[in-house]
């Protein structure tokens, strides 16, 4: 007999609570200190996945590894979009950012910086046939594409440009190419790498973004001066023994770790695979992301979400006013705010009040709450559609509230709720792609990572879409038999 068994689901919920263990800062006296390094992984040649091995690599990664070895740290790399890196540092999910973070006055007020390990200058990228823009002054009134928290956004704004925000550098270049924005301001090294890798001849470097030399360094929390000191010592040693210069030569054909070095940068393509090869190579990592990320996220969130939905629905139907109000507020907040905001509040916001979830549990918490809020009204409507005579019949054979709910009302409500809840499940599968923003590796993240390194946006994103579609299609196939099974008693 299929029936919703809230108690069983509740048990699953409590079983999971072990997963929600709070992460303590990883300090230890004798063992090498665990240092969590935040980096984009989609910013070649600084931080990206090697196309052949799918391992994290790049200039910043190698510098970071050298520093870690010198300082005796046990490094753990955490990949996240650039805009998530500083919140992750603030909320103690990472200890250092190694991602070409430019030292600015504003950032200096909030974070500690190591000795710079890259000196670069900004350039302006425009479409090939755009001759209007050759300097920062020409950006006035124009639109540029920038990542929100990068210093280049501020440079563009200061020049009077209107800024459109993008998730990372690659998509920004796409917008320029497509004529949706006029320009993009970025680090000359990153731009040269992009041009070499993509072979893109639709955009060009139109000019320098001012003459200031920019310094990029490792960023730490203000409360962590010891790490900063150890990093400085390590960088000094690595400069002295020529390690940094060697790493830089490997990537840029010049030593960008000293002032003025970035003028001579010569970037070779970091990837020369054919489009078909790229798609073939990425299919498996994307599948792994789907199986390890999206699918378990969906399953756990849906199960917990259903428990929440049933609880909220029963609270809405309760004669206790307080329960009704709490459930109403919950449903209203969930339905009235973007899932993205809910995810960020759970992951980046709650640590401020001591609720510190790891990425995976944080994603499950946010997605479960979201599903629960949406499904609650569906469940409530289904319960209300069960005739009141059914409650009475259950009552007169001696059942209490929970027995009649579990044995009589909910199984009948389930039949009515399955089609709309099927839609909720399909939405959830697709929404699970947002989990990458709170540092959970998943399918779409894999597509983004490879797309950044290879600029094969269309084939990779199409393949990501295909994966999602196949999963959703299989789920919708299963829905028919389930509906028939639940309805087999009806004529």
């Amino acid at each position: 007999m299929p029936s919703i068994r809230p108690l069983v689901l509740l048990a699953v919920l409590f079983g999971l609570s072990g997963v929600f263990a709070v992460t303590a800062p990883a300090y230890a006296d004798d063992d090498p200190r665990v240092v969590r390094v935040g980096t984009e992984g989609v910013y070649p040649p600084f931080s990206y996945r090697d196309p052949d091995t799918n391992q994290l690599t790049g200039f910043d990664i190698e510098v970071m590894k050298a520093v870690g070895e010198e300082a005796g740290w046990d490094l753990r790399f955490v990949e996240a979009p650039f805009d998530s890196l500083f919140p992750a540092l603030d909320s103690n999910r990472i200890d250092v950012i190694a991602n070409q973070v430019t030292i600015t006055g504003e950032r200096k007020a909030r974070y500690l910086f190591s000795t710079p390990y890259t000196y670069s200058h900004g350039v302006i990228v425009t479409a090939k046939d755009n001759d209007d823009i050759t300097s920062l002054a020409d950006l006035k009134g124009k639109t540029t594409a920038q990542t929100a928290s990068s210093n280049w956004a501020q440079v563009a704004k200061d020049a009077g440009a209107k800024v459109q925000y993008v998730q990372d550098f690659g998509p920004g270049v796409q917008l320029v190419e497509q004529g949706r924005v006029d320009a993009i301001v970025n680090d000359n090294i990153a731009v040269l790498d992009y041009l070499a890798t993509s072979g893109n001849d639709k955009v060009k470097i139109a000019g320098d973004a001012g003459h200031d030399v920019l310094e990029q360094a490792l960023a730490f929390r203000k409360s962590d001066p010891q790490l900063q000191q150890e990093a400085d010592d390590a960088i000094a040693a690595l400069t002295k023994d020529g390690t940094l210069a060697k790493i830089s030569e490997k990537y840029f054909g010049a030593d960008v770790t000293v002032q003025g070095g970035s003028k001579d940068v010569d970037v070779k393509a970091s990837d020369s695979r054919t489009r078909w090869q790229v798609v073939k190579d990425t299919a498996w990592p994307m599948f792994v992301g789907l199986v390890k990320g999206n699918i378990p996220l969906t399953i756990f969130s849906f199960l917990i979400g259903m428990v929440l939905a049933v609880a909220a629905a029963l609270a809405r139907l309760s004669s206790l006013r307080v329960l009704d109000w709490i459930a109403r507020a919950y449903i209203s907040v969930i339905r009235g705010t973007p899932l993205l905001v809910q995810l960020f509040i759970v992951f980046f916001g709650l640590p401020a009040i001591g609720l510190d979830f790891d990425p995976y549990p944080a994603a499950i918490v946010a997605l479960s709450l979201n599903v629960g809020g949406y499904a609650a009204e569906v469940v409530r409507g289904s319960i209300l559609s069960v005739p009141s005579g059914q409650y009475e019949a259950a009552t007169v054979i001696g059942m209490d509230y929970w027995q009649s709910m579990r044995r009589i009302i909910l199984p009948q409500a389930a039949r009515i709720a399955v089609p709309p809840l099927g839609n909720t499940l399909l939405s959830l599968i697709k929404d699970s792609a947002l989990a990458s923003l709170v540092l959970v590796p998943e399918l779409f993240r894999e597509a983004q990572v490879t797309a950044a390194a290879t600029t094969e946006y269309l084939p990779l994103y199409t393949m990501a879409a295909l994966y999602f579609w196949v999963v959703c299609y299989l789920v919708s196939l299963a829905q028919g038999p389930l509906e028939r099974r639940l309805s087999r008693y009806a004529t």
């Binding site: 007999m1 019949a393 007169v396 054979i397 001696g398 044995r407 008693y489 009806a490």
Partner: protein, 249 residues
């Protein structure tokens, strides 16, 4: 011998509607009590007060050694105890549509009375035979005719082995040609000395089975007596009601 059922001073209002205005009656074990009267006269509310589907505002209900004085808010255990004394047959049968016939019958015995499923199923099969539905154990209610559904409803109420069976217009929702089979089952129960309280409009049937007839009007017992009330009513309003019912029948 003391009566099995005692109802005393029952009062109930739904908002401005004063539905019961001090109803008293008693019934010995093995007797058949028929509640009769125009719609809105409070018959069904009396039945529903006896198993606390409706909570009276005042009055006492006793079945066997369970009783509740409704002048105080009843506690849960008292309600449970009183409910366990009776079984109820609904006008609209209210069978559980997602359970088979057998599933409907053993639900209460197994889930509430914690009897073993095998034993409950054996009893259930005997009851199905009694109501003439042997072989339909595995059917779902939707696969049965209205008369068969109501006979399952009766068997489900009996499966709990109650002391009293309350029947709320058990044939009113049925097509006329199906009424007979249900009445035949109830007649058998009366013959087997079950204690029955029946709300019905079937006057001829009531004449056959009733040991006691209560004629209700506007929340009070307007006339009471044996089956002769139905053939020789003393009260004018009883007479008018019966004339109407017999015309319609």
């Amino acid at each position: 011998m003391t009566d099995l059922i005692e109802v005393h001073g029952l009062e109930k209002s739904f908002g401005p509607h004063h539905v019961l205005r001090g109803v008293d009656f008693a019934a010995p074990a093995g007797s058949v009590t028929v509640l009769l009267g125009p719609s809105g006269s409070g018959k069904t509310t009396i039945l529903r007060s006896m198993n606390v589907l409706a909570t009276p505002d005042a009055g006492v209900v006793r079945i066997g050694d369970s009783s509740i004085d409704f002048s105080r808010p009843p506690d849960r255990r008292a309600i449970k105890s009183l409910r366990a004394r009776s079984g109820m047959v609904f006008q609209a049968h209210n069978l559980f549509p997602h359970k088979t016939v057998l599933g409907n019958l053993i639900e209460g015995p197994v889930q509430v009375q914690k009897r073993s499923p095998d034993e409950a199923a054996a009893d259930a099969r005997a009851l199905l035979e009694q109501v003439g539905l042997s072989g339909r154990e595995d059917a779902y209610p939707s696969q049965l005719s209205g008369g068969q559904q109501q006979r399952v409803g009766i068997a489900r109420a009996l499966a709990l082995k109650p002391e009293v069976l309350l029947l709320d217009e058990p044939t009113s929702a049925l097509d006329p040609e199906l009424v007979g089979e249900v009445l035949a089952v109830i007649r058998d129960l009366a013959a087997e000395n079950w204690t029955l309280v029946i709300v019905t409009h079937e006057v001829h049937f009531a004449q056959d089975v009733a040991d006691q007839v209560l004629f209700l009007d506007e929340g009070v017992v307007a006339e009471r007596g044996g089956a002769e009330v139905l053939t020789d009513p003393q009260e004018e309003r009883t007479r008018r009601f019966l004339a109407r019912m017999l015309d319609a029948g």
